[in-house]
Symmetry: C2
Amino acid sequence: MTRARPYDREAALDAALHLFWRKGYHATSLKDLEAALRMKPGSIYAAFKSKEDLYLATLERYFGRQRAQIAALRAETGSPLSALAEFLRGVGRPADGDGAAARQACMLIKTLLDVTEDEARIGARARFYLDEMQSEITAVFAAARAAGEVPPDADPARLARRYQADITGLRIEAHRGGTPQTLAALAEDMARDVEALRAA
Amino acid sequence: MTRARPYDREAALDAALHLFWRKGYHATSLKDLEAALRMKPGSIYAAFKSKEDLYLATLERYFGRQRAQIAALRAETGSPLSALAEFLRGVGRPADGDGAAARQACMLIKTLLDVTEDEARIGARARFYLDEMQSEITAVFAAARAAGEVPPDADPARLARRYQADITGLRIEAHRGGTPQTLAALAEDMARDVEALRAA
DNA sequence: AACCGTTTTGAGTGATCGCTCAATAGGTCG
DNA sequence: CGACCTATTGAGCGATCACTCAAAACGGTT
């Protein structure tokens, strides 16, 4: 019974991810997906059950990668605070190599704003993933506090909320299409604020 | 030929505005609009030409109100910087009176993220309005500089970009559904940063 | 090569999409 | 009060929506 699947599930999910990320849930039609995944409707439904479930699968995939990025900051040797600041600068310096994906706003945020009550599962999922991201960031700030980089009475969760808002604003600014200079300047301002926590 | 219009254009535009704002362009159907405006399709098309044009009309309406809010900060007596900080605190304290509209992300941002190449006019318009908002904010920071509140070498446009990113992040946090406490705390952190420009 | 079970196919489902237009209703005139 | 004219109506247009299923194609086993 172990017939190899003629389609590449990973590649299909990636194709769906980028399509959904770019166009959003409502504006992406089954026809679009058929073309991007190079699968017929029947195959898509056999493999992913429904458009909504496929979206949820791509969202999970996206989240996994985002979380890994933040988690990597914790694993870095050296200053957690500098890692956070440097990450902001990286977001402000979008690589033009990966097909302008870096010029897209965060998919979790796009999902949060796109979704209506008709797709409650998607909205709930996006909120959950955003909460998870916040926890991940909180952990980095907690590490910074443990290392004495921020005052002992600082609230890591509160700092994380601010940091996440900065990331959101910065990535939307990138989406909006500012010049590399203004984008880098904005990221620099945010990064300096993070590093300024050290002095205080 | 001066027959009075049996429908109230202002009320209809407001209804369309709130519907579009809440559901977004793609997820709002003509059926939804018919119900919200209490107009039949023919009337809607006679009055507003198309769904896209109606959206543009509501977007302009929204923008006008947003701009007025920022413009009011300039007219305020007293410190421009304090006015900007206080405005942030106001966004962090969403009034529950106006039907949770304050808990919605900025419509310009929602539009920016929702729109695809198929609605290029809408996207271009949203970008334009966001640029206008930035100019408005820049003018307030320029006033603050003229009043000696921020250093003479500060760049008002750059400060405005940061401020706008803060507003974006804050309003999306409100949309996400944080508690009043965490939302107020986030706004407070941002407001303090604005006021800290005075000391520097 | 014949068989079997799974996967893929793609025409086609009813519903809904944005939108049109001939018919109707209702105010404003002579 | 009837003629006129514009605003409103709503059934219905072709296109597209998300989705289904009977049939064909395929890989592994015998």
